[in-house]
């Protein structure tokens, strides 16, 4: 059986959810097989058409002049930041909201960390005329306000989650609680390749358009496949989207860049990991419906994670990615907060692209380890950084970053932020 049917990636994956949700999971699995895999009722055709007309696909694979010169490597940028909404997230949100519609569901719920997934879901729901509620941790609401406004303006309710540290992990738990109550008419649009089967394979399939395009484009532009593909990894959806169509190409190295945060060490007694590097440092366990690699203490309690970027700040990772790492097919690497911020400024100045802080991690890796990436590399620009400007101004002010422009123009501006 393929992973697409079994939902297992080696030991990882599965369906660890309350019994009340199992019928919905079965219904969703059935809908995924019929509509997504078999294009029943022309679902895939409509999805592609909407991705084109509403989403703006296909997106360019852009040669990056300054970075290529700097790293003495041909660097190509897959510009998911140009997707409607400003991040790769719409590929999945649009696919799932449309699927919910085909399934006859009446209401959409979702969780969000950076707010990009919430925004994409709110946009897709407005576009397809479905009521929508988003759960978001309070910490994330405070550091991603522009996206909170965007969700509201698109007509979605935003429900703050105050338990724990108020980040993505708590928001996912809270959305699962809502779903357990409303499962009969509601679809939960999960925001990454995490959660119970069929979410990890389905979300991957919706995002695989990234590597489908990139693979064609790089061959057109260079006459060959790349030596490597680099993508940041929170839950891992842009990551698997960018990798999927290269997984069978053994000569293409795949680098998943995690958030190293402020340190790779953990504080077991406090239950806190000052990073979100579950692929590099995590241990196998069960969280939010799947068996995967997790940041947890020796008892199995899930740790609070940390990253300067809200979208990477999660204690788990997609089961497929965990499996590909164990198989040696994907190389997990990580970049700390400082390096990501430096990369943020560098890319903004050198290429005129303001990346999301999540994306900046991928570029941080290029700066740290460009010897490993070969002659042609593709970096997935998972999203644009408009949402992060307040955070960047604040975080830059606390550091002495070589790459930052004179930040004094912002003095006094971030006080009220």
């Amino acid at each position: 059986m393929s992973d697409t049917q079994s939902g297992k990636f080696g030991e990882y994956g599965g369906q660890y959810v309350p019994e009340a949700l199992m019928p919905a999971i079965e219904e969703l699995t059935d809908a995924y097989e019929r509509y997504v895999l078999n294009n029943e009722d022309g679902f895939v055709d409509e999805f592609r058409e909407r991705l084109r007309d509403f989403g703006g696909r296909p997106l360019p694979l852009q040669y990056a002049d300054q970075l290529s010169a700097r790293y003495d490597t041909d660097v190509y940028l897959k510009r998911e930041d140009l997707l409607h909404g400003g991040a790769h997230k719409l590929n999945n949100a649009l696919g799932q909201v449309l699927l919910a519609k085909y399934m006859g569901k009446e209401r959409i719920i979702a969780e969000t960390g950076a707010g990009q997934h919430g925004t994409a879901t709110a946009m897709a729901a407005a576009h397809l005329d479905m009521p929508c509620e988003i759960y978001m941790g309070e910490t994330d609401i405070n550091r991603q306000r522009p996206n909170v406004f965007r969700m509201r303006i698109n007509g979605a309710e935003v429900n703050p989650v105050t338990v724990g540290r108020g980040t993505l992990k708590e928001a996912i738990s809270e959305t699962m609680r809502d779903w357990a109550t409303t499962v009969e008419n509601t679809h939960y649009v999960i925001g990454s390749i995490v959660g119970p089967h069929p979410f990890p394979v389905m979300v991957r399939d919706f995002h695989s358009v990234i590597s489908e395009e990139a693979r064609e484009q790089v061959q057109e532009q260079t006459g060959r496949l790349p030596d490597s593909v680099i993508a940041c990894a929170g839950g891992g959806s842009n990551t698997m989207g960018a990798f999927h169509n290269f997984v069978g190409d053994d000569d293409v190295d795949l680098f998943a860049v995690e958030a190293g945060g402020s340190s790779l060490s953990v504080d077991e007694t406090e239950g806190v990991a000052p990073n979100s590097a579950s692929l590099s440092t995590g241990d196998e366990g069960v969280l939010h419906g799947a068996r995967t690699k997790l940041l947890q203490d020796s008892d199995g309690q899930i740790m609070e994670s940390h990253s300067v970027s809200a979208g990477l700040d999660y204690a788990g990772v997609g089961p497929e990615l965990a499996h590909l790492v164990d198989e040696g097919r994907v190389t997990p690497v990580n970049v700390d907060d400082d390096t990501a911020l430096e990369a943020f400024h560098r890319l903004s100045q050198d290429e005129g692209i303001i990346p999301a802080l999540e994306t900046a991690h991928a570029f941080g890796y290029l700066e740290e380890d460009h010897e490993d990436v070969g002659d042609v590399t593709i970096v997935n620009v998972s999203g644009r950084g408009d949402k992060d400007l307040e955070t960047v101004i604040e975080e830059t002010a606390q550091r002495d970053l070589e790459t930052a422009v004179d930040m004094s123009v912002f003095d006094g501006m971030h006080g009220g932020m």
Binding site: E19, A20, M22, A24, M176, R177, A180, T181, V183
Partner: protein, 291 residues
């Protein structure tokens, strides 16, 4: 696990809420108040099936230092003589003893060594009689079911209002001790009414030969009476009891005072269940007369 000649009152508390010693007194108070089986929560950091009340209890217990090892010690020190069922989430069961397992198995075969065995063995040693694991559906339950069989423990499954007929057969094969009938959709939490889904849910399990205990939302003796009258063999009550613990904690009340309130609430619920049992017998007698 239940005596079959009277309805069972099955209270839930999170072990260690709000601290180790008080929690012990509270669990013992429930036994004094007439508990027939106690579901004792082992707190997990991501309790996705719990509503705000039990979530609060879990946060307090974790902050009070509850861990799986402390939990087993807690169970061993409890002075109660009713069956104790461990209610927890799968990651804690799966993870237990892994660090020793991987240390003693440096040959790189640790992945295949992982599983629920060490946890279940330790639970049996501590005197627990079974498990309820809300995030473990039938699909993923084989390893835990096997470990429970090996060590002689029960594994209780939850049947939800959404559970379809095909799934019922599978659950009937897997469940032992009792079946946990979820009275309504959603997460745990006390309610002011009794769900009218209950009778329908119980009806679907008529020919199951394990006792049927109904939970989710039961708060008063009157609720318990109606649930048992509707055909339940037992009532499971969590949030309404946790509320008493939480209130006592917030008000700074003495442990003995809170324990007394818990015992009184337990007596109310048990009495309600007994009244419901009586009512059912009368209804049955009437039906038999008329028939």
């Amino acid at each position: 696990m239940f005596e079959r000649d009277e309805p069972a009152f099955v209270p839930y508390l999170a072990a260690g809420d709000p601290d180790y010693d008080a929690s012990k007194a509270y669990v013992e108070a429930l036994a004094r108040g007439g508990a027939d089986v106690i579901e004792l929560g082992l707190p997990f950091s991501e309790p996705i099936a719990e509503g705000p009340t039990i979530q609060g209890a879990i946060v307090r217990a974790l902050e009070g230092g509850m861990t799986p090892d402390r939990y087993f010690q807690f169970v061993e020190e409890l002075d109660v003589d009713v069956p104790l069922v461990c209610m927890t989430y799968y990651n804690l069961i799966y993870q237990y003893g892994q660090s020793e397992a991987s240390a003693s198995n440096a040959s790189g075969e640790t992945a295949s060594e992982r599983g629920p065995g060490p946890f279940v063995r330790r639970a049996a040693e501590a005197g627990l009689t079974g498990f309820v694991v809300p995030d473990l559906p039938a699909e993923e339950a084989d390893p835990l079911r096997a470990a429970c069989d090996e060590f002689g423990l029960d594994l209780v499954f939850i049947v939800a209002p959404t559970t379809e007929e095909e799934r019922l057969a599978r659950l009937m094969d897997l469940t032992s001790g009792y079946v946990y009938v979820q009275a309504r959709l959603g997460v745990t939490g006390a309610r002011d009414d009794v769900s009218d889904q209950t009778a329908g849910s119980l009806g679907r399990l008529d020919d199951w030969d394990v006792p049927k205990a109904v939970g989710f939302g039961i708060k008063t003796g009157d609720h318990a009476e109606r649930i048992v009258a509707a055909g339940a063999d037992g009532v499971i009550v969590g949030s309404a009891l946790v509320d008493i613990v939480a209130e006592g904690h917030e008000n700074g009340d003495a442990v003995e005072a809170v324990a007394d309130r818990l015992a009184a609430k337990a007596r109310e619920l048990k009495a309600g269940a007994l009244d419901g049992w009586e009512r059912r017998r009368e209804d049955h007698a009437v039906a038999t007369d008329e028939g």
